[in-house]
Symmetry: C2
Subunit: 151 residues, 2 copies
């Protein structure tokens, strides 16, 4: 699989992504499977809740964000999640919203235990069409080192 290696990343690099749009039907079907609460599954019931209307599950927002992360990080061998240190949903994702990703690299370091890998720490913001953040995440991606440069 072609793609980038640990050595291609550096602190301070910025990145963006394409866009992805979410429909009311997909918000509801995702929620019926994974997060069956009225503000995610039923427009009528949602009106009388905290959110005053239908909103996507935070896990739907996170999953859509992953689809943008995969675009933004064409890492050789794939994006292997090394874990998330912060995940926030400052505003809910609503039907018809179009999402895009903005992010930056905040740390890079070789793995202590695995000579063929490094960690790339990223901060991502998922923005709606109005430019408001619907998700902020700090995550550590496990990235392979370029084979020729391994110890």
């Amino acid at each position: 699989m072609p793609g980038r290696y640990f050595e291609d990343y550096a602190v301070g690099q910025k990145f963006g992504s394409g866009t992805v749009t979410v429909t009311a039907d997909r918000i509801k079907s995702f929620a019926r499977e994974f997060d069956p609460q009225p503000f995610h599954t039923d427009e009528e019931l949602a009106r009388s809740t905290f959110f005053q209307g239908l909103v996507a599950s935070g896990w739907h927002t996170a999953s859509l964000t992953m689809s943008l992360v995969v675009q933004a990080f064409p890492i050789a061998g794939g994006v292997i999640g090394g874990g998330v240190d912060e995940l926030r949903w400052p505003k809910p994702l609503r039907p018809g919203d179009e999402l895009r990703l903005e992010g930056g690299i905040v740390e890079v370091r070789p793995s202590r235990s695995k000579p063929g890998q490094g960690l790339v720490r990223v901060r991502t913001t998922t923005l709606n069409r109005a430019g408001k953040a619907v998700q902020i995440m700090i995550a550590n991606l496990v990235v392979p080192r370029r084979p020729a440069e391994r110890a």
Copy 2:
């Protein structure tokens, strides 16, 4: 909507859940939509990757975990996610795995800014049939206070 309030939770309480099972077909269809990488979308290609076989997207594991959290926390008005402070996938979720949740409450505190709400901090472990952790999460749930006890 009936359910529990902030006042019903206390530090040290433990909780469990029912189970949910994942198929290879659902692992692949979830990944085609949200995390289209070979180790999530194709058994053949997955064999030659880091994971040596098909595994679920971490966001699929997280979404399935949410379906168990909703069962375990019948909160009045719904589980409004206040954010995640740690999310780890120590082992991958594989086709046929059956998941269940174990968790505990590690902190409860009234909201400083919103008198009708409190925060319940939980640590959850999502276990496969072999009893191995496929996800560990520390999350803050926003929970309504019982109306009669509001200031």
